[in-house]
Subunit: 848 residues, 2 copies
Amino acid sequence: MQFGYFDDAASEYVVTTPDTPLPWINYLGSQDFFSLLSHRGGGYSFYRDAKLRRLTRFRYQSIPADNDGRYLFVHDGGDVWNPTFAPAQAALEEYECRHGLGYSRITGARGGVRVGLTFFVPLDAACEVQLVTVTNTGEAPKDLTLFSYVEWCLWDALDDALNLQRNLSLAEAEVDGSTIYHLTEYRERRNHYAFYSVNAPIDGFDTDRDAFVGGPWTALAEAAVPRAGRPGNSVASGWYPIASHCVRLALAPGETRELVFVLGYAENPDDAKWENGSGVAPEGERHEVGRSAPHEMGRHAPPEVRRAAPHEMGRLVRKDGARALLARFATADQARAELARLAASWAGLLGHFHLESADDKLNRSVNVWNQYQCLVTFNLSRSASYFETGIGRGMGFRDSNQDLLGVVAMVPDRARARLLDLAATQFTDGSAYHQYQPLTKRGNHDLGSGFNDDPLWLIWGVSAYLKETGDLAILDEPVPFDNDAALAAPLLDHLVASWYHVVGNLGPHGLPLIGRADWNDCLNLNAFTASPGESFQTTAGRGDGRIAESVFIAGLFTATCPDLADLLDRRGETGLAAQVRDSVAAMHEAIHDHGWDGAWFRRAYDAFGAPVGSATNDEGQIYVEPQGMCVIGGAGPDDGRARAALDAVAARLAGEHGIALLAPPYTRYHVELGEISSYPPGYKENGGVFCHNNPWIIMAEAIAGDPGRAFDYYRRITPAYREAIGQVHMTEPYAYAQMIAGPAAPRSGQAKNSWLTGTAAWAWHAATCWLLGVRPSLDGLVVAPRLPAGFGDYTVTRRFRGATYRITVTGAGTPATGRLSVDGVAVDGDVVPVAAPGATVDVLWQAP
Amino acid sequence: MQFGYFDDAASEYVVTTPDTPLPWINYLGSQDFFSLLSHRGGGYSFYRDAKLRRLTRFRYQSIPADNDGRYLFVHDGGDVWNPTFAPAQAALEEYECRHGLGYSRITGARGGVRVGLTFFVPLDAACEVQLVTVTNTGEAPKDLTLFSYVEWCLWDALDDALNLQRNLSLAEAEVDGSTIYHLTEYRERRNHYAFYSVNAPIDGFDTDRDAFVGGPWTALAEAAVPRAGRPGNSVASGWYPIASHCVRLALAPGETRELVFVLGYAENPDDAKWENGSGVAPEGERHEVGRSAPHEMGRHAPPEVRRAAPHEMGRLVRKDGARALLARFATADQARAELARLAASWAGLLGHFHLESADDKLNRSVNVWNQYQCLVTFNLSRSASYFETGIGRGMGFRDSNQDLLGVVAMVPDRARARLLDLAATQFTDGSAYHQYQPLTKRGNHDLGSGFNDDPLWLIWGVSAYLKETGDLAILDEPVPFDNDAALAAPLLDHLVASWYHVVGNLGPHGLPLIGRADWNDCLNLNAFTASPGESFQTTAGRGDGRIAESVFIAGLFTATCPDLADLLDRRGETGLAAQVRDSVAAMHEAIHDHGWDGAWFRRAYDAFGAPVGSATNDEGQIYVEPQGMCVIGGAGPDDGRARAALDAVAARLAGEHGIALLAPPYTRYHVELGEISSYPPGYKENGGVFCHNNPWIIMAEAIAGDPGRAFDYYRRITPAYREAIGQVHMTEPYAYAQMIAGPAAPRSGQAKNSWLTGTAAWAWHAATCWLLGVRPSLDGLVVAPRLPAGFGDYTVTRRFRGATYRITVTGAGTPATGRLSVDGVAVDGDVVPVAAPGATVDVLWQAP
């Protein structure tokens, strides 16, 4: 069952009913100001940090779901409705939500009135713009009263939820003309404020939630002010501050009116927080207004007067920042121009890769939605989604290095900066803080280090950046260790430290020690935690951690360290390069001798030296990760192990909804394995389809020669292909989910944790670099399609190091290799040499 | 405007409308299992620790408020309603909620059906019992379908709210007969579970919230299963687990049926978590049920079959604990007997003090509600209320010592144990951890020490315990310092350390250094924090903290250290006693020389040595705390300063809603003062009526000779007297609030943070020991009434050290002193000597 469709021409997903299985959201903003926006207008906004600068309040797990957002109530002769359907849920005669690139447009109509709401976060502006179009589609004049609504969060989203005994006494707001300012705590240490404005005179306002809603016992759906059709002109003083404008519109038949609402954020210099000396509301009036009981409405003076302004010894909050920003959106034409600028920016970003093939689902995935998700994930790491509450997660070291794979071609400068930030949280021994704080860019001490795959992802990230950009100079950039400038060393030294951290920490089988965990955060072989509530990741368990080993890290080592050797060679460090290559060979040997279980690669050795992911285990006999990564790293192409391992994946792990992480799932808690065995069977790491690793198998199948299986796996997890089973899949059909419940789960096929997942980057990487076969390398652009027979011809337009490559592939899938020609000239091998910036290169790949 | 009335005969407050200004709650339980219960059935339950063992989910700040609880839906021929009004809010023909001592009884009627719900937490049982009485009050037979409903919390209330990407895959439940088990995480490290049961066969169940409610978009008010009148028989698998029973009742006209629901908690030994070998639901069936889409209802097999049991290798969760507990409540008669036992327990506890006077409001306050609140506060410290989210607050050192004043006569053994726990968190230098964790009884390192009033409250607490009990042996109890048994020393040594910590930390004026803060947590003279989000209490500011001094601590020192000297004398430590008395005299001198501002006592000196709470300040010229405490400590009776200070309080701080903390409120942030200046004027410490300190002024006025003013002040903050202005006051008229918005606040008179406040203990202490004048001392029971002329005669029955004192006071208020006789024999002074345990003593106090 579908709940909408892709409008490929507009690069939009069109949700056609409010009644989707879950909220289906979009992300607005990509720099400082972010909004999460559902197809019902739900969600929240924040500035830079979803925890510390939360602008609007959102309640996760609420009943009904997703009932906090930016809402416009329409009061039409006593009938009250929302064009977003929520929260009033009055039936709509028309409804659609178009989620586009950095904007969403929701349209609702009822009783001869159509309202369109276009939401976007402009470039270079700390605000969300809401362009509202109201049309009288009927035959008679309409007198409408509109009420906007947002609820403010008191900045720190965690404290906002917990510290009520303080917070319920804090709220302050000011109404100045048509702008409502949220000023809580501005009087004290904050120098920032939020505001909500409309480019029209208002007929009233509310800044107190209870006054707007009608007291504590009323649902937002039944809010009193919209029902009454009269503003409360209420002034927040503690409790729950909101911002609501009242705008009355008289519309002739067929007439359309436009309004521009702006929800924004501004900061002042600490020493210039206040306006000097004018405009303070008289004390008496301030109190008269403020004293109004929350339930009393509509009895106050008209709102033109400045209201209840918090002030410091007679000085009002300085508002230049807000005013300057609002001036950019004073008219609908201005707003449209900014929207067009935003659209152009997205078109530019996504234009670096364009596929035309017979498979619409693949086209829209790689051209639009997967790229888009990659950038969202790169921006937000794992901080704020409808499954990540925006509280407590920093930027992950390994997450960010992998996320970078999805965006390095789009935003190479930002990728470069991110790499340097990440490397600066590395320790001199090559280990790394597992997370760092985006605001401070410093490592997170609470979590610390000890995730022994982390260092290798830095090599992978830098390598991907270099392959895309050729910017070898980055290797000479001085980068601190442990955020200490005194310890700075060239980035290349960091990569060597990463390598050394692995070879310096091998276990009894010559395989890398796993530490707290490797890529699979839930495989905790040294934790041995038995107390509920303890962190599986940070608990110090028994022993010295010198026994448990990871076959996955071994595979990762073989997959990435050859690139390091190449870089060392290019920098003239041939001796070290040889050492690295020797260590890779030794690792291959260790995998061969101790990583193979007989029919697939083992996953690990536990703290007792016993195998994990082995036929000798009762549960968890086979894991997906080493099958993918060892084959990518080059294990087993000659002795048949690669094919055997991938056949075991097909036989034991692959299901209709993707490849499960392990089988059979654990039915009891294994203290020696940790969190992985804490989940009910079939969910998350315990045998769920943990989508992040599925592309590794796709890549491995592409490498090992079964592109049919590779493409089949790709389609099982890629949301565009799952659109038709939306009722089962539940999350958005345009964004990958972290997890799809596996075969053993009661709700197999049900996706969770959509949007912020490393799946996005890997799926894009697997699809473009391996299936479609257009893959950057240090020497040029590799063209090596790996698609099944019958896929058909396709073209890819790829921007690469300033040139444009127009690649035509004909007859892909018939054999594994083809004939390559560049600008009509045949070339040997599969590498298209680097062209001059600005050049356009025609590339033809033909089946022989 | 009132929203109910006191039923004094039943010791109940009767809420007569669901539409109170805020949720009005009661506390059930006093030992291990606690429930917060609002007059609409809202609230939540926890076992011991409101953060770590939260049984049911509650959303603070929700719209509508208080919409999570234990609800019974009545489906009556298509009409759906709740006897608690919430959540469906269908109009009721009858409604009342009777909050009693440890129980609440909510009755609702509609359409010829009356449902009474009696909620209580029995003695010695980890459960909430819900005794349900359903009566057909009409003329025709009724076929009713009842649906119970609670939503489970995943144990750790903070993690439950934040870690959705994990938690939404965890939920597991089992239905076994009429008992629904919540078993999330039991499979792994937990050994505890919750359950919800009814003593009747059920006609179905639901354990998945979306199935019960009808999907994500439906409000609980519109829940689908009750509307349909058919259970969903849904099985939770991740997402949001609930427990709902379906019970069909056929009632003849006039017929009444009773049901007993039990919401409970049980633990198993770690090595006996599982039943052996039987009863596992077949795998196939388990999956068939679990696979049901959340929106599909009513198509499953009958519920007698054991359902979706999480198991470990074929073994089911062991349930002896639940079954044993349920056997105690198998019938309504059993439940009633337990309720009667609970009532007897409360009668015994509260019976230690009984006033009969002409003032009903005073009678009910001191006899019932204030005592009750004292015990609730003692049990819960500041952990869980409708303003305290139950997350993150430990037991406060100073809070708990003061809370003890309110309960020492009721539960002297528990007071004794608490004192020893508290003293064990003291350091050898006399300072103390500011908080300790109730589960571990260890000091909270995150918060640490440095609150320089803390040590003195231990003296006050021990002294109050000794005056009540005469148990001088406690002074010899060995008590660890810093929770280290190796550092144990007699409790008396701890008191001396407390004293020494003050005299060893005097500032430039010979006044005590304030440290991080004194009683007023928000007066942070050494923090100098300028970054939002920093803790005012723990931030390390500039300087060494050796300048800022507290006049309040000086007053507290003079108020409490003479008691220490008396104790030292009684232990033969006369030399040390003399040193203590000398130090008190020196402190009086310091207060005299540097604590007086000219017309009132100063509050402090800041880190620059400048006075705080002085006419020389622009804002915050006078603070309430030193006026009360210095007079209590004996300052200024001879030189007129006591009277002047209290007159200044009357002139500058007292308002119709109580005595403000300071005046005029700060209109800007003072970095040198800290949090106190962070609140909007008139709220909280910034000039709100912070009720906790009002009793100090009441005591001071009683001491200084104006009992009329004392009693007037008492009435301004005591909720029973504020019942008539319920719409202004907003919080419960039977529980003190921490704060009432002060004169400068826009919403002056509005109370917040009801229930868990030190106000309870101090108000009770001031009313009983000072106004009514029945006050324990080391030597006996002081009788010294301080009530205004015209108050009239009264009697107090007081249990004291095992004897019962029947005290009659005639002509109180006319003069300050009277004639005292004991069993008909006149005695000098105001002390009634200690009688033999079991004796009954008749005491007469007569105006001369």
